[in-house]
Symmetry: C2
Subunit: 218 residues, 2 copies
């Protein structure tokens, strides 16, 4: 079972590394980190670099596809027609599972893969799903057929554990959860938009507007 | 405020990327990924590569130090006297916070930095803490003075959010938690050794024994 994890400049590292840490430990999994080209990609904070070990034209028939999201300015390279979108559509014809974390769902939707399908994404980007033809669902992990999407950033962990149970059974998923010691104890109960203080939500929405209409941090 | 994240061959990616994703978003944070040498390191699954943007001799006075753990064979390069241990002791003289996720605490303890101090680590490695002079504490996040340690892998997220609140205040930590949409919904309630099925715990302990007495996966 080949697990292909797409990486790209300005991606959010945890979107990819959460699912990677789980899916790469499934029995028989061969995990490959793939980019438009081979080589380093710089994550959104500009302070972490992950290496693409394969280029998209080298990976043609993955069984599981994971598309992470990004933060900051709009990813025109991914959201408009081009080699990455072509690749996503081509490999999706072969996948058993096509998945996303955070705004990775926007990338899949922009490629036309979520048209008419229920999906989720980061709460700040949820409106974009409809813009690209998907049906926004306000849940942490959403499955519609073979398409499995996660809400923002850390939700990729829950998505991948859920998928691990479906692929390899509850016992294996539980073992991986224990191996990761995933017994979360967040210091605050504010990790979703309906639980967070209203002033924090409002200021983040304002920052989002600024970012979308501003220029990328270089 | 400089945040230095140590990376090394066979590390567990999420141990580093969880805290990175939080601490790098603190106001005024300058985050640097540092290795014994500059360049790529291969994580424990051998399918993910992270790049050290600086060598240890280039980073002398970080404010926050994050040491991730590893899985698999024993990390003799880190657990025995050598350049990394020398560096850890040297930078620790300057840090405001010296932190670890997972078996990163074993690395700190082996360098003599946790002697007589309460600390935690991955549940499969908890006995090692005492072997290296620390006082094992069976908690998810343990603070003793400026030393903050997290339990296995995913616990680094809780550790870093707790630290973020201490450094920058609750409001900032809550904003980062919401940005990460960290409202965990694990599929099973088995993420700690006292909650997991006994047969899974037993088989993992058996695998651990095999790994410790075996040879590394290359």
């Amino acid at each position: 079972m080949q697990v292909a994890i797409l990486v790209y400049d300005y991606m959010t590292a945890l979107d990819a590394v959460g699912p990677y840490e789980i899916l790469s430990r499934l029995p028989g999994a061969e995990t490959i980190v793939v980019g438009e080209q081979r080589g380093p990609v710089r994550c959104d904070t500009r302070s972490l670099t992950i290496v693409a070990d394969a280029a998209i034209d080298e990976i043609t028939t993955p069984d599981v596809l994971v598309v992470p999201g990004w933060s900051g300015f709009r990813q025109d390279n991914l959201l408009q027609p081009g080699p990455v979108q072509d690749w996503l559509r081509a490999v999706d014809e072969h996948t058993t599972w096509t998945t996303s974390a955070c705004t990775g769902a926007i990338v899949l939707a922009a490629a036309g893969l979520l048209t008419g399908r229920r999906a989720t994404t980061h709460w700040l980007a949820i409106e974009w799903l409809a813009e690209f033809g998907a049906v926004p669902a306000d849940e942490r992990v959403v499955r519609d057929g073979k398409y499995v999407s996660a809400a923002g950033v850390s939700a990729g962990i829950d998505m991948a554990l859920t998928l691990a149970a479906t692929i390899a059974g509850d016992q294996t998923a539980k073992a991986i959860q224990l191996l990761m010691e995933y017994d979360p104890q967040p210091p605050f109960d504010c990790g979703s938009v309906d639980k967070a203080p209203a002033d924090i939500v409002a200021s983040m929405r304002a920052v989002r507007e600024f970012i979308i209409n501003g220029t990328p941090k270089t």
